[in-house]
Amino acid sequence: MAGSTDLALEIRGISKAYGRFPALKNVSLQAKEKEFLALLGPSGSGKTTLLRVLAGLEHPDEGEVRFGGEDFLALPVRRRKVGMVFQHYALFRHMTVAQNIAFGLTVRKASERPSKSEITDRVADLLSLVQLDDLGKRYPSQLSGGQRQRVALARALAIEPKMLLLDEPFGALDAQVRRELRRWLRELHDRAGVTTVFVTHDQEEALDLADRVAILSEGELIQLGAPNAVYEAPATPFVFDFLGAACRMPGTVVGDRLTIGDWETQASKGAPQGVVEVFFRPDEVAFAPADGAGLAAEIRAVAQRGPDVRIEAMVNGQLLELQAHGPTLPIGVGEGLSVRIRPMRPQVYAAS
C-alpha cells in the first residue's frame, strides 16, 4: 500500500489510567487517509477509551495524537471536527430529525454558519444519503433503532468531519438490522471518503467491515492488520480465541517437526521450539480413514443442525468439538467409528 505520506491519524504511546486501573497502556497505531479501521476487543479492553481520546472526550495521561500532522490533543472537543456516533444514538429528543442533523451547523459562529436555506438543503441531502427522506419532521422517539442510528450518522456527517468515530454503533440493534446497516455503512464510507474508526466487540463485524483491524486486550494493542491476515495468523492465543471458535492441543516442536499426540508434521516457519500449544479452527480439519495420516480420533457423537454438523471426537485423551459442512462430510465419520483428523492450518504458540 501507499507510503507514510498519506497517514491521516497517528497515535503514539497513549496511556490512560482511571485511578489505579490502567485503561490504555502505551498504544500506538496509525490510520491512512480514508481508511476504515476497526478497534476490536472484549469489554474492558480499552477500545472505547481510545475512541474517546480521539474524540477529545478523554485526555490521555501520556502520548500523542496527530491528525493530518496537527496536534490533536491540543484541540478541545468542539474544534476537532470529528463526527462521533454513540451506541445509544444520543439524539436530541426534543428536536426533530432535521433539527438534529442541522445542530452541528446551527451552533457555528455567525460568520461561519451557512444560511438557513443552505442548511435546509444540506439536511435534505443528508436525509436522502441515509435513506430517511420523508422523516425530517419526526421526533427521534418516533423512529426505530436502525433509523435513529442513521439519523445519528447523518448528524455526524453534517459537520463534514475530518474523521468519523463510531462507538459500537450497531450494538443496540437486532442481528438482522445490524447486518443490513453494516453493508450500508461500508458503502457510505466508501462514498463519503472519511477516515473512520469503528469500535466493536463483534469480531465478525470487524472482519467484515474494516480495512484493518486493531485487536486490543487489557489496554494493550495486541495485533494490527488486514482482516484476513489477522484471521489467518493470529499473533497470540488470545487473538486466535477471540476471532472465532478454537480447538487447542498440547504439542512439541523439535527442529522443523511438530508433534501432536501420535501425529508428526512439518512445523510452520519460525515456530517456537519445545513444548507448545497448538490452536486450530474446529471447521478447518480434514478427515482420513483410521489407517491414514493424522491424529487418531474416536467419534463420540455426530449432531446435524441444518447444513452444519457438530462432531464430538476423542483425540489424544481430550474431547474436541469439531465442525463440518454436512454435504462434504466423508462417509466414514459416524458415531463410534475411528478416524484420523488433520488440522489444516495449525497455529503454534509457546506454551504459557
Partner: protein, 295 residues
C-alpha cells in the same frame, strides 16, 4: 354431542370481547374495577366533596352578593397580591432551583449529601416556625433587615417580605422536580453536542435546558400552588396591612372570625377557581414541551 360439550374457544372469547368497554384498556394487571372504585371513592371523599361544599356555600349570598364580596377593593387587592407574588416567587425559584439541582447532581464535593438534605427543610419545617425565623431575620432590626434598610429596602412587613417567604417554601418543589431528570440525563447527548461543535453555553442552553423544561414547569406549578395556599410563614413577615400586604388566605381567616362564612367561602371559591385555571394552563404548557420528546 351437544354444543355445550365441546368447549369452543372462539365462542367463549367472543362475549368477553363484546363486553369490554372501550374505556378500559386490556391490562395484565388484575383488579381494575376495585382499584378504580377505591380511587374514585377516596378522591371523592378527600377532594371533590369538600371542594363542592366550598363552591356551593357562597351562593347563599346570591350572585350579586358574591360579586360584591369579590369586587370589594380589599378582597381584590388580596387576591391580586396572593396570586401575583406566588407566581413571581415560583418564577424566581425556577432558575435558582435549577442552579441548586445542577450543583447537587453535577459536582461531587464534601458535604454534598448534607446540602442535599438541607433542600427539604423548608418543606419539613412547620410553616409558623419558618415565618418567625424569617421575620426575626428580616425585621428592620434583624441581622439582614438592618442591611436591607441601609440600602433603602424594606423587607419584612412589605410585599418583598411575602415574596421572600414564598420563595423559601417553594424552593424544594422546584429542586426536587428538576434533580431526578438532571440525574437521568444521558451524558452522551451532551458529549454528542460537544463533538458537533457546541460551546459549553450552547450545550447547556440548547440541549440540557430543553430536556429539563417539562420538569421545571411541573416544579414551578407545585411551588406556585403551594405558595398560593401558604399562610403560616407569610402572616408573620407580611405585616398584614389591608390593601398592601394582606394575603387572601388571611382575609378568609378574618372573614371567618367575623362569622361571615359565606364571604369567606366566596373568596375561597375564587382562589380555587383561579388556582385550578392556572394549574391547567401550566399543565398544558408542560405537556407541550414533554410531548416533543416522547410521542
Amino acid at each position: 354431542m351437544t354444543d355445550r360439550a365441546v368447549p369452543n374457544p372462539i365462542v367463549r372469547v367472543a362475549p368477553y370481547r363484546a363486553r369490554r368497554s372501550r374505556w378500559k384498556e386490556p391490562s395484565i394487571l388484575p383488579g381494575f374495577p376495585l382499584a378504580m372504585g377505591i380511587t374514585l371513592t377516596y378522591l371523592g371523599l378527600i377532594v371533590i366533596v369538600p371542594l363542592t361544599m366550598l363552591m356551593l356555600r357562597p351562593w347563599e349570598l346570591g350572585l350579586d352578593g358574591v360579586i360584591g364580596v369579590l369586587t370589594d377593593e380589599r378582597v381584590a387587592a388580596a387576591l391580586k397580591l396572593s396570586f401575583g407574588l406566588s407566581f413571581l416567587a415560583a418564577l424566581a425559584n425556577a432558575p435558582l432551583g435549577l442552579l441548586i439541582a445542577w450543583t447537587l447532581t453535577r459536582y461531587r464535593f464534601p458535604g454534598r449529601r448534607l446540602l442535599d438534605a438541607l433542600v427539604d427543610l423548608p418543606f419539613a419545617l412547620p410553616t409558623a416556625v419558618a415565618g418567625i425565623a424569617l421575620t426575626a431575620l428580616y425585621a428592620p432590626n434583624g441581622p439582614l433587615g438592618i442591611w436591607a434598610a441601609k440600602i433603602g429596602l424594606k423587607t419584612a412587613y412589605s410585599p418583598l417580605g411575602i415574596f421572600i417567604a414564598l420563595v423559601f417554601i417553594g424552593l424544594p418543589f422546584v429542586v426536587r422536580s428538576i434533580q431526578p431528570v438532571l440525574e437521568d440525563l444521558d451524558h452522551e447527548v451532551e458529549e454528542a453536542a460537544q463533538t458537533l461543535g457546541a460551546s459549553d453555553f450552547q450545550r447547556v442552553w440548547r440541549v440540557v435546558i430543553p430536556a429539563i423544561t417539562p420538569a421545571m414547569i411541573s416544579g414551578l406549578s407545585l411551588a406556585f400552588a403551594r405558595a398560593v395556599g401558604e399562610y403560616g410563614s407569610v402572616i408573620f413577615i407580611a405585616g398584614n396591612l389591608p390593601m398592601k400586604t394582606e394575603i387572601a388566605p388571611l382575609l378568609i381567616v378574618i372573614k371567618l372570625e367575623q362569622f361571615d362564612y359565606a364571604a369567606a367561602s366566596a373568596i375561597g371559591a375564587a382562589m380555587l377557581a383561579v388556582a385550578f385555571g392556572s394549574l391547567i394552563v401550566l399543565n398544558v404548557i408542560q405537556m407541550r414541551f414533554a410531548r416533543k420528546g416522547r410521542v
